[in-house]
Subunit: 156 residues, 2 copies
Amino acid sequence: MTRSTVGKPASPVMMDAKSHAAGFRKARDARRSELIEDYVELIADFLETGGEARQVDIAERLGVAQPTVAKMLTRLSDEGLIVRRRYRGIFLTDEGRALAKRTRERHHIVETFLAALGVSPETARTDAEGIEHHVSEETLAAFKRFIVRPGNSSRE
Amino acid sequence: MTRSTVGKPASPVMMDAKSHAAGFRKARDARRSELIEDYVELIADFLETGGEARQVDIAERLGVAQPTVAKMLTRLSDEGLIVRRRYRGIFLTDEGRALAKRTRERHHIVETFLAALGVSPETARTDAEGIEHHVSEETLAAFKRFIVRPGNSSRE
DNA sequence: CAAGACCTATAGTAACGGCTATATATGCTC
DNA sequence: GAGCATATATAGCCGTTACTATAGGTCTTG
Ligand SMILES: [Mn+2]
Ligand SMILES: [Mn+2]
Ligand SMILES: [Mn+2]
Ligand SMILES: [Mn+2]
């Protein structure tokens, strides 16, 4: 419609539509992998803290019902990230282990960064749980730099 | 590390299950409001940059199909955030406008923060689109502090 | 004012992620 | 080894967010 902007008070211009859409798309993609990442990371936690990764344990940790976990595990299994051994627990494939490693490192960096920024440990933990999935490599690098030398991150 | 037990190679302990679950729950809740926030913010952008907020425009910006927008708008309308005027575009209710304001401020702070941290404008924009929805008030305050005085964020 | 362009609505489908209820398999204990 | 407790699987439901295809309005323009 582009009605003639005569007396209008300097309306700022929106960003390029294509870039905007690309940003939203990326966020949607991240949303789709959030759960997978959390599951794989959690399973790795269980396995490496000496315990087994059983459905009931995972369900309790995530705060969801056991059948919800069962269904999700089918998806993880379909994607080749885990192996299920009935009544023996869940195990990670090589691919799953690799994803868990990356994911956990990223999670740790995000949480540590928030704490370094002055956020309380409790909030850092909570916020990191969601933020982690939307942090690009570049931003992650910036977080790392800040953790090492707070205050030296951007000023040249 | 608690290397008390013999043989076993220092298995660290997982955090409290209840807190863990609470964190996941909060992230899930945030996920449910992500879309609503993005829509309302985007509609406000359209309206305040002199244009109209039409379904086709919104669809293009978000990178989704028009019927997807139509359905989502029904939800926004049901929740009292918008008013639809056929062929005249979408308008925000008072409640919608209030949500848009909060959301946009938060978005802006997150993006500005990332840039201040040394992240490229492009990446800052992209990452902020996802991160914004998972940033608590406390973290937002920390971001603001950093923007004002980079490097002075974590001192008491 | 009629045609066509453009916008919106609706129908039908699918994947995902959650739930409850219930069936079945396994492991433990006596 | 039988019984019971526990873990897992399955069925069926729902809401959300996407899609395509298509029908139906409205606006503009020749
Ligand atoms: Mn995580
Ligand atoms: Mn997470
Ligand atoms: Mn936003
Ligand atoms: Mn967003």
